[in-house]
Symmetry: C2
Amino acid sequence: MVRLPPEEGALKDLRPTSEERAHICDIGQILLDEIAESGKAEGMIVGSIARHTWLRGDKDLDVFMLFNPGLSREELEDQGLALARKVAAKFTDTFHEKYAEHPYINAIIEGVDIDLVPCYKVESAAHIQSAVDRTPFHTRYITDKINGLTDDVLLLKRFAKTGGIYGSDQMTEGFSGYLCEILILYHGGFRPLLEAASGWRPHQFIDPEEHGAKKFDEPLIVIDPVDPKRNVAAAVSLDKFAGFVELARGYLAEPSESFFRLREPESITRKELAALLDQRGTSLYAVTFETPPYIEEVVVPQLKRSVLALSEHLRRNGFVLHHAHYAMKLDRCMLLFELLVADLPKIRLHAGPPVWNRQNADKFREKYISAGSAGPFLTEGRYEVEVPREFTSARDMFASQELLNVSLGKHVRQSLEKGWKVAEGPDCWQEQFSSFIATFFSRCSPLTRIRRRS
Amino acid sequence: MVRLPPEEGALKDLRPTSEERAHICDIGQILLDEIAESGKAEGMIVGSIARHTWLRGDKDLDVFMLFNPGLSREELEDQGLALARKVAAKFTDTFHEKYAEHPYINAIIEGVDIDLVPCYKVESAAHIQSAVDRTPFHTRYITDKINGLTDDVLLLKRFAKTGGIYGSDQMTEGFSGYLCEILILYHGGFRPLLEAASGWRPHQFIDPEEHGAKKFDEPLIVIDPVDPKRNVAAAVSLDKFAGFVELARGYLAEPSESFFRLREPESITRKELAALLDQRGTSLYAVTFETPPYIEEVVVPQLKRSVLALSEHLRRNGFVLHHAHYAMKLDRCMLLFELLVADLPKIRLHAGPPVWNRQNADKFREKYISAGSAGPFLTEGRYEVEVPREFTSARDMFASQELLNVSLGKHVRQSLEKGWKVAEGPDCWQEQFSSFIATFFSRCSPLTRIRRRS
């Protein structure tokens, strides 16, 4: 395949070195041998290492341990963790239990970050009992076909990463490694994929094995070649999908190495933030609280929901929001709101029933007349009164216990119940959130970001 | 008919005195004689005097001059005005030409305000050539049937007047005298009408002659007994309709003379306005300009439209409106706006095309990137940029020439083109608008107003 110079240039940095390759494969082999020796399970290298689609510098090795599907779920977990611990302990003291859908062991061995994951050895993808059982099938599918296209996968992964859309985690809502591989296989290479993606529209549908057996409503629908009822691209948000489309167009129009060049994360100082707010004339509020003791996949969707609910709470109270976002750090979470209107007069309108609804209309009139409210007025045949506004400042609203009444998500609520802090203006700045705050303000589209710095 | 004490009490003040009656009838007769003597037309007393439904103190006498329908429109106007002038000149020097749909002569004779109106003498209401030709038919219809119900008409007229909903002019948007008469006839009296009205809902349909021949969409539809294609209640706005419904319910629940007692118009001093605004914490803006040289029926709808258009203009520019209204005085008009948010930061969001609309998306990106705007961002798959806000204060917006670009109505625009003044806060106060400004803030529903002062 003829490559453009930016791609050739990028690939020099993307392909793993032969030393890296040898080192990781050696470790993989040793672990497989240990598993085989135990006689309890069959070992299998999965993930990008197995598929030869890992990027230079990646040190993540996924080793699956395939157990007899006759075991109960409990037996699998007990025996699986016991074996994983035994294998890990042979090589290192630094290992501990982690939990995704099921528990597994994570260990650092000779600088490589290794997951030892127990699963069932099922005969076909149709018989899988949980998501981990599917992984070996993915690996077999890709390994069988990826020959000659591994460079294209490396390019795509880095291209997506540079654009900020690589990763199917809740924070990124972008493209997983497996999705990248499927797309490269389906379109036959990096550039054919970009040419296709230039014309993508929401609900783009791709079904490599032509066996899709379920309706999906996501922006990008890529039917899993090993599971007709699964959308490999389910995590991709509409904006990350749009970002990929514009990146594809932008690259094809003006190919450049900047599409493959990672950059340092942005950051902002407290002083810069103060100057920025002064210049913008907006009001910034940060709600911070203890990070709930759960994994990102559980907490981040709740942060997202909380920001939406609080945005609606602001709107209902008459404040005007410009932009809001959320961040999760190890110990603290932050919900950040930039407002155009943060202070309001003491009065507000409160809508009542139409006059024709006699019972309610009479009740409403009597209630507000005896409360001494201004009105009721008649507006389009409905009653309306002027009542005192509950919150005349957004700060008061954020500080009020009413915050707990909006739809926050269980663990975020539990954390807020222990208390939260409200900061305003430059006081929102905190060292650990300085990168988050910087991107909060510079949130331009992926292509714009790349063009601006090249 | 048994009357409640408040009605008996009210009627004592509502029925014209016998002196009044004699005086007005005498003048009427003299005018009719003069017209008959001319041999040009036939005279006819119309309006509430002819129908015995005028209120004590009313001094309005309508005398129609019915001409041969063989005359052209021009001949009618020429001969009609000539005759009217001749008749008027016999009794007074104070008369002048006025213009509704057609020209007529208005004269003050012995303290009575007299309209001398030329019209065609048509055989049936089906042959009328303009609205004035219809009036004699109205008078005949009511006069034939109103016997025994004139007191009820007086009560209803005053009841509506006290509630602020008497008058079919553009400012009031309420009940005309003829509508009051028809409603009393149809329901057989004041109280039966109120009992029916308590249960009215929008699009209430009344067709006394059961001959309606056209669809209407107004809140109250009362088919004219003399014209099956006319809604007598076309002027009644939804809120005046609702006001009548709540007045009816309120009176039946607690009948009281306060429903018939007129009060002095409200007023506010400049000092009171300053205190009120301070207490409310809102921002008040008045746009004043020369009253266009046209009658109220022409200008007021344009003022109403202008307020709606400027309210939308405010909203588009991000300001938050609480209430707006308009007033027309002899020499100046005022558009008054009370805002919750009158100042905004320098930035605003500007929505662009969806990314899938490639041509527009590319154009939009290039335009705003080269303009140095923040963004474009991606929001739900669409581009969005941050741009400088055109008006950061409502005052600037009202003062800008852009005001002329909103949908104002022809004559209001022409007047504004000669210049307008913007006032803010207590400076909005002007002596001639002090009553308008008072009701701007006290705009409660008719029943509430009556209950509050009784």
